[in-house]
Symmetry: D2
Subunit: 432 residues, 4 copies
């Protein structure tokens, strides 16, 4: 039997708190889960620093990746199988792309990529196509197979239907993370009737569409997404932890560039500091390694680095104030000046963070970030864009919401042993 169609002698299951069980029958999938590149995802948290706000959110990307796979498997095996619009030859391709879509994520991805200026999607591609265990498994299933999987994940594949199952405004990725993040944080907002949505999904040439009768379940899903963004993902305290993380990496890089002598050499970071990170370097990184450095950097002589690390490790976060850039840019300038006078480097201790989200968008061809809209399949066979049918979705469609906050170390500002008067001025400006 060809490796690509080989089945395990007996179905294997993973116990999963969100989907109850994750079922694996395909040899290729089983082998991929066993690769060290996939196992590495166990050491990368799904929600980065969010566990410092919601203590339950300690789950890893390994969890989530299995979940996305399982949702796609159910769509294919339970809903699409046998439908003429679905080509079952794409089954394995879709399952592999689902399982591996987050493979290139690094530790605390968001901040890490920003500070060191790269895109984890490049590493996803590199892992799939490079000299890795994952590549070996995929190549065994077909010479071009790794390239095909990479294209689906990169959204450059011609198989638009397959792409839409994994990356669209209603895809398996989102459906898993909303439910999973809700489960582990303990908030109730992420719940929606996924089983219903799966049952009304229909394959079309270009994308997956939703039978009209499932519209309300989709509305509920979009509201869940909206709530999860503002209640969990953009929670101001989580963003505070993210600010700290980002500033630590920033400071370490800065010190390195200024030839500062670290007590313990941060060898795992060198290639990132130099902008020359190779796949091999990247794969050695995980959150344990990062946290190890944060731990030992608490004892560095550089006051800023050691302070920021102590804050992160012991969860002594910055506080925040509302900030309206359009109206308060002068106040920010003033605060900046005062922070310098108070001997607090504003680069690290006075930080504006902005979050912005578009809960759903219809199609705006040619515009940046153009998004494929959700289409409803009407009884007469026509397709209608969701916001034309749903009042609720129409009401929020295309409306970007943005929130700005100003982060600062309250404990320092209340410590009047030095620069008392300046700090009083700062506090007055911040109204604290």
């Amino acid at each position: 039997m060809a490796y690509s169609t080989e089945k395990l002698s007996e179905e294997k299951v993973f116990k999963d708190p969100v989907h109850r069980y994750i079922h694996v029958r395909d040899r290729v999938i089983w082998d991929l889960v066993g690769t060290k590149e996939f196992q590495r995802l166990r050491r990368i948290k799904q929600l980065g620093t969010t566990f410092l706000t919601f203590h339950g959110a300690e789950h890893s990307r390994f969890n989530h990746s299995l979940g996305v796979y399982e949702i796609v498997r159910r769509i294919i095996d339970d809903v699409f199988a046998g439908r003429p619009e679905w080509n079952d030859e794409d089954r394995l391709l879709t399952l592999c792309a689902a399982l591996l879509h987050d493979l290139g994520h690094g530790p605390f991805s968001h901040s890490f990529e920003k500070v060191f200026d790269f895109d984890h999607e490049d590493f996803t591609r590199a892992i799939i196509l490079g000299d890795t265990e994952v590549n070996k498994v995929l190549s065994k299933a077909g010479k071009d197979f790794p390239e095909k999987v990479a294209e689906v994940i990169a959204k450059t594949s011609e198989k638009k239907l397959v792409v839409s199952l994994i990356s669209s405004q209603i895809d398996a990725d989102r459906m898993d993370y909303l439910q999973r993040d809700a489960y582990f944080t303990g908030v109730s907002y992420g719940q929606f009737d996924m089983e219903r949505i799966l049952r009304v999904m229909r394959p079309r040439e270009d994308q997956v569409v939703i039978k009209k009768s499932g519209m309300h379940a989709v509305e509920d899903y979009i509201m869940s997404r909206y709530q999860m963004y503002w209640q969990v993902y953009f929670h101001p305290v989580s963003r505070s932890a993210e600010v700290l993380l980002s500033k630590i990496l920033h400071r370490a890089k800065d010190l390195f560039e200024r030839n500062y002598t670290f007590k313990n050499k941060p060898v795992h970071f060198y290639s990132f500091f130099n902008n020359q990170a190779k796949l091999e370097d990247y794969l050695k990184l995980d959150e344990a390694v990062i946290l190890y450095y944060f731990q030992i950097w608490q004892e560095e002589e550089d006051a800023i680095l050691s302070d920021l690390c102590r804050r992160f490790v012991n969860r002594n976060l910055f506080k925040y104030a509302e900030f309206d850039p359009a109206k308060e840019y002068k106040k920010l300038a003033q605060l900046t000046k005062l922070f310098i006078q108070a001997d607090l480097d504003p680069e690290y201790y006075l930080v504006v963070d902005s979050s912005s989200d578009l809960p759903y968008d219809f199609y705006r061809p040619g515009e940046e970030g153009e998004r494929l809209p959700i289409h409803l399949l009407m009884k007469n066979g026509e397709l209608r864009e969701l916001s034309r049918e749903s009042e609720i979705v129409d009401a929020i469609s295309g409306k970007r919401r943005t929130d700005h906050k100003l982060y600062y170390p309250a404990d320092f500002l209340f410590d009047d042993t030095e620069n008392k008067e300046i700090k009083q001025q700062i506090r007055a400006l911040l109204e604290i």
Copy 2:
């Protein structure tokens, strides 16, 4: 107002997936949660290596500690408050002991303590009484207060009722971990009607007792405990990961004692290798640090250490066979000999692991591990030991169940490039 009775201006809550919300009103509790020793528990998993079997089980001891606190708070504030048998002066003492009862746990406690021969309870005591942030907070609440808290946790306190809330056969510790571990692993076994049990708890001088009308809820709790032990805690695959972990630590210590030169000096381990670990050394350890070493040890020259670390990091675990020591000791000896011939050190590659549990026990005074039985409060005011009233509990009471398994590296045994014949003999003996 005295610090020990000071309330926060507004109640604080933590969102918790198991208890929905954890409520904090007391300044002392709030301050304890903020100490770095307590925050350290975020970096120690509640179930050690179990996440390699149940991928959801990535939750920390920080989670669990808050949960135990919350259960005790509900018992005191919602059930005991106002009852003449309960002395409300013990409230803060009980809450602090609940919150801090696991404070001394280190990374992967179980194996770590066994290999380096110490007891985490000594470190709990050391943290509470030593030069720590936790001690500062407790001391502020009363000069003798740290000592009192330590005594409750150590079960040496005269306040037996308080002790029984935290350590007995039906205590807040167990009630939290059964539910929490069930939630995060996704198994259904850990569920029982805790709300019912809390409502029927009554304070008595020596211990908390249970109103007879709640007996069935207690039966259900004991069955949950039984199932969780055998389905989750003693799962043979988790034990396989634990075997690996223990053997890595063992090997590293052994190499150190034989003056092996590590590529990277394992400075965090020195005091443990030397049996001279101080509180300061201990507090620097967490699972990130341990995992960091396992990562870099993959590149050590010692073949055993690097192999074991690679196995752990990439989840390439040992397989297992049933093993009956009473009948198969000769087979074990024979296998040992063959492993040596096959160049596989049996110390590291042929491991017997035994698990044993006593789901519930009545009182056996004077015997080792004597346990306080659960008492039912009958309508007429008498107390009756649980197993005298419950047929189910009686059926399993005092019956120790033990399970032995033999762990070995199946991949090595099937690699016939060397020692082919010996390996064939081994496989024949293991029936694989």
Copy 3:
């Protein structure tokens, strides 16, 4: 001790699937639950005919009434107690009004009241003030007490805060029924974080307000309400059963007025047919009695009555088509003519049903159906109307949505044994 403040010697609990337990401590509440007028609510379904669409929805108003009581109890005892804005003397009044707010509901209220032209709220008042067991209990708690309870339920009480707990756009009534109806139907839409909402409720002189920090939980509640209306309460199949029910009652009344001779005299209906129903008559009615008549009316000689009853009892419902009155009024007239030609009385067999809902409204003083808006309590102590702060609520605020359907007996229309050609014309018009 005064009866109005008397406590039970031990708290009583009801096991409730929605709130887990319902707690009763007050003697008055316990005695009210035991009255025969309150027990009668067990024989009236919460959702009338909805069980014919969602088979789980067989729960009674007894369930719901206890639920509303429990929510109010938690607000008062866990959140309001001790706050200066809350007058604890209103506690019993609020609890009683919550428990009894639906007391006057009759069997299949909605249709029953419309056909026989009365308002169940008048009967609620009559039960509370009349010669009933409920009145006896309330009077024992205070001479004016029944009147006060009746005023709160009728929303004529001066105690606006108390009224708003039971009747407003975010009251205990709605919070219970959304969750309860979701639980019993099995849909997921009705879930929202009630515990969070309760915790952020604050008493103000005129109404209960919501702390700003709980706004997202309120948004979620409003979306739940929206979804439950359109997914469950206005489900076209449930409305079909309601159409049938209404037409049965209508037909029976009509026959009575035309001096038709019933095989079994419908004595329980006489006073309703005559528009002279007294409290005593009303209390004898419940859904068992109604269903009994529907059963025996299956054997009446009147073809319409017996047909409609057989349809209801055996769930052989009318089918439906979309209907737009503005555009299709001519089609309706044409169908009416054809139905008459086909010997199908359009009064009973061609029915337009309209449903309409306003998910949330801000204040429109003076307008019909004016509704008290939800107010958010800002950090600075100001109150802001919800839709001014919430984009989502703003988007749907004040927007009435209406749906019309045309109901008809498809089986008759496809039975071509008689009037074949006319039926073909009807089917062509209905596009079936």
Copy 4:
């Protein structure tokens, strides 16, 4: 296409709170659900009078029957399909038997059958084989098909595997009702991991067996069953309602036999009073009809009948005392005498009720009530009886537990307006 294999053009679903969705693809199943005999099950409560103890337990046998069907469907379609031991020709037979297994249940079956001395299983058979809509549908699927279905339900079929899916110590019937009754009552005891059990079920010639790896899930199921029996089904208050119900029927029959003149003729009961009930009479009965009579019988002149009916309708139940027949038979005789002296007919007002259960039994061939044990399928292919492998099951296996209670009208006994002294003696004996 043959009717027996005809599929609906599109799968239909019922929303179900326990199994989320119930899926119907087969035309035969869809048609059976639509028959009036099956719809009748909506008017019969699954748990009879239990709703008077657990107010949520208002669900009907219609619910449960769909649930049993769905479980069997999943076993066949998701687990058995394709296995050589399973003959897919039995699929429709099994589904129909599952759906219809409770078809012959009447209103408040348990008491009704005892008083009028018949077995609902005879009516199940009569409905399936008689002149009914159900029979028409089944006959269309095959001439002998109704007989085959009836044999499976009656356990006389030669297809033992099919029988065991519906009636054994671990069948779809029990798995549905434990979960469903737990859901609607709100107790947590009925939960077990059904998905796990279904996945480890394997077809064997004579019965369904369970793979050894699923043993713990089965243990949990047996404990759930044990707890549901004693916590819910045998709850002393539910039994009190059942005693009342039974005594009402008993009294009515007795009055009829003594030629008592009822104010309203109980025509629906005549054939039962005469022991001549035909299928036609039986099908006209449901709980609405029974409750209608209980309502109007409140106004009968016979003091006992009207009193018992008032008690039932208004939930004014008998109280109970523990009773040990072996030790207290003399006390019972004494009480009987005193009741007569106090003018309380002991036949109706002093009732011993006994409940007895055997949570699991191994095979005792030839003994009365012999039960097929659960067999585990070991790795080597052998079968082992469950209690030989499971310590917990062994501990409770074959142990019958019995409970006796003595029911009496406490309100009468405390009403000292008449027979004061005798009542005092009674109360002294009852220790109330």
